[in-house]
Amino acid sequence: MSTVTTNTIPRRARRAQARQAASGYLFVAPFLVVFLAMLVLPLLYAAYLSLFKEQLIGGTTFAGLDNYRRALTDDQLVEGVVRVGKFFLLQVPLMLGLALFFALALDSGVLRLARVFRLGIFVPYAVPSVVATLMWGYLYGPDFGPIAQLADKLGVTAPKFLSDDLMLGSLANVVTWEYTGYNMIILYAALRAIPSELYEAAAVDGAGAWRTAWSVKIPAIRPALMLALIFSVIGSFQLFNEPNLLQRLAPNVIANSYTPNLYAYSLAFTSQEVNYAAAVSFLLGLVIVVVSYAFLLIGNRRRAS
């Protein structure tokens, strides 16, 4: 702003600024209302709930941190967290690897029908996870599933997809199928945003397509990869729909505490232990924050070095 302005102009500008700010808040208001009513308030309420204990006999009493203490020594919860941890280590590298591979392939410009591929890989994400799980459940099915029937016709034994040993892998497959396309789109968008000077510089330095991908493209989209990774941490640790639905097909394999989220749900609705469920949810949230933060820290340190 110029130094020779009169007094009136900044005031008008300030008023205009205020008006602008007001319209900004107006635009955000619908979100803010829903955010407060549906997320912040319930969260605070759940935090409050987690400090009490309601019993069938004796009613509600203040429990302090008892629920948290109980959760930390609850084998079912710990096993669930370890299980989703394993799931994360198994599924996420595979999914992000595939997503990165497809994104690079699409970006390379050598694919014909690139749009068809892009859409084809993305389409599973448009299928609701409930539907996807039901569909995979049918494919996995022993006796009635098409894979089992085909194997039967060929005289071989189909793998027991819904058994104790393979369940985690079967779940990983469903989730990978669902979200590879989604992550690919994030990475692909990031690739499209890389300034072309970088490519020119690489070409001048004599880098081929593979070298460019490895040394230019991947480092350039590291923030996008990080974002996809954080989403995946959250998604893995909150795994719910897929095991909840497959539980109907394999009730003896997927226990109510198979994943921490499923456990919190069944604590609230089967065991009537709403307060404990709230504490478990909070601890789960804490685990997610810690793991996400750890990955961010590792990512940033790598970049710095």
């Binding site: 309420y45 022993p142 006796d143 909150q238 109907r248 003896n252 069944s266 089967t270």
Partner: protein, 451 residues
């Protein structure tokens, strides 16, 4: 995986917890209004002529027909029928509504085994003041015992029942020269013979996710797994000698590989029934009609018989399933609600409709002795009078079997211990101990005196 999904997760949880908050605030269900003093006939007449709206939660299909009979008799009263889901999903909604303090129905369908789960939370209305005790003689003893409380309260009116019997494939038994087993020993021998003759056939499937059958078989064996002498006291004996006998028997057959342990009511199970993988289905009196619609291709091949017995010559059975109509304590129209529950399940025309239209197996003595009901000869069972057989079995179900006041947890724990051990062909006896310890821990946690 997306943030959107996680947000939905929180949202769902948030809604649930918010509902619970409301519950803690004003959860008084009017417990003070309870009285055992009878309501006078004049009050009843007045209430039945006052314009009233009742909400009725039930999952019985086309129950509007029975409801119409009631509305015809009492034109002032309008009943809104709501299907809030079958079993578990309905109970979850009901509990949420009860905790929220609003939105609960006046009358609700509850299975026998869930009555204590809802009386412990003081959610059901004692129907004695409305003349329910006088109905006792109309019902089979054990069904009335199931709806009666510790101090004689009448918590619900029985609607349908599930005395257990055995449906079997006549054609498969004939093919391998097997007689329908009369004792569990014969059953085990038949299991081995059948499976040896055809490895694709199992004498039966003891579903590894079906606590109801396990309880029914325990009931038959004379066990009393849950007894209680006071509201805040419970004795848990799910690993006593009778239970261990049952566990050894079934896990023995499962380990030998002569009975299968597929989860039931799944695609796999339906398909197996249709293609003759199981030669029998140990089921309840509602099973015959259920089977005739879900395994149509096998029509004419099935027959029915009583359950095999532990001691030759005995005549004992247990019950699996069946439900009641209960009145929720928070109702604003207790008289109309109580009378509706009564009418629905005792009126001659209404109960007959249940038996002939919805094929529910009746708990009333009148229908169980009615030749138009017992004389039916369904072609699916080769013209056998299946209803007559099950009517006879109903009399052999003992009274005295009671349910825990936290059935959801008990069932969920069963699936993860006993059921899992059957599926995995592991040590079912040890799983019983696990089940016992899980229930005990839970009960203590909920403030019960256990022992």
């Amino acid at each position: 995986m997306t943030l959107r999904r996680s947000a939905m997760r929180w949202l769902a949880f948030g809604v649930a917890t918010t509902l619970t908050l409301a519950a803690c605030g004003g959860g008084d269900d009017g417990g003070s209004g309870q009285t055992t003093a009878s309501v006078s006939q004049a009050d009843i007449d007045k209430a039945m002529q006052t314009p009233t709206e009742l909400t009725f939660w039930t999952w019985v299909p086309q129950i509007e027909k029975e409801v119409a009979l009631f509305e015809k008799k009492y034109p002032a009263i309008k009943v809104n029928v709501v299907n809030a889901g079958q079993g578990e999903p309905q109970y979850t909604k009901l509990r949420t509504a009860l905790k929220a303090g609003s939105g609960a129905p006046d009358v609700v369908q509850i299975e026998f085994q869930y009555i204590p789960t809802f009386t412990i939370t003081d959610s059901l209305l004692d129907l004695r003041p409305y003349g329910a005790e006088a109905l006792k003689s109309q019902f089979v003893d054990w069904t009335w015992q199931q709806v009666t409380g510790r101090n004689g309260e009448v918590w619900a009116i029985p609607q349908d029942t599930g005395p257990m019997g055995m449906l079997y494939r006549q054609d498969i038994f004939d093919k391998y020269g097997i007689q329908p087993p009369k004792t569990w020993d014969e059953f085990a021998a038949a299991a081995r013979k059948l499976h040896a003759a055809d490895p694709d056939v199992y004498i039966t499937n003891l579903a590894s996710n079906q606590n109801g059958v396990w309880m029914g078989l325990l009931w038959q064996a004379g066990a009393k797994p849950f007894t209680s002498s006071a509201p805040d006291q419970i004795s848990v004996n799910v690993n006593d000698a009778t239970s261990k006998k049952l566990a050894d028997y079934w896990s023995g057959l499962a380990k030998e590989g002569v009975v299968s342990t597929d989860p039931d009511f799944t695609d796999q199970w339906y398909q197996a029934l249709n293609r003759g993988k199981y030669a029998t289905w140990l089921t309840a009196a509602w099973g015959p009609v259920f089977l005739s619609t879900s395994a149509k291709d096998t029509s004419g091949k099935w027959r029915a018989a009583p359950l095999p017995q532990w001691t030759a010559g005995d005549n004992k059975s247990g019950n699996w399933g069946g439900s009641t109509s209960a009145v929720i304590k928070s109702t604003k129209n207790p008289i109309a609600a109580a009378k509706f529950a009564e009418f629905l399940n005792t009126d001659a025309e209404s109960t007959r409709l249940f038996a002939t239209e919805q094929f529910l197996f009746p708990p009333t003595r009148a229908l169980l002795a009615d030749p138009s009901f017992t004389g039916q000869k369904p072609a699916f069972y080769g013209g056998q009078t299946v209803n007559e057989l099950f009517a006879g079995i109903s009399d052999t179900v003992s009274t005295g079997f009671t349910w825990p006041p936290f059935l959801d947890q008990t069932v969920s724990d069963w699936d993860e211990t006993v059921g899992k051990s059957l599926a995995d062909k592991a040590d079912t006896s040890a799983a019983l101990d696990q089940w016992q310890s899980r229930i005990t821990t839970y009960a203590k946690n909920q403030g019960f005196t256990v022992g």
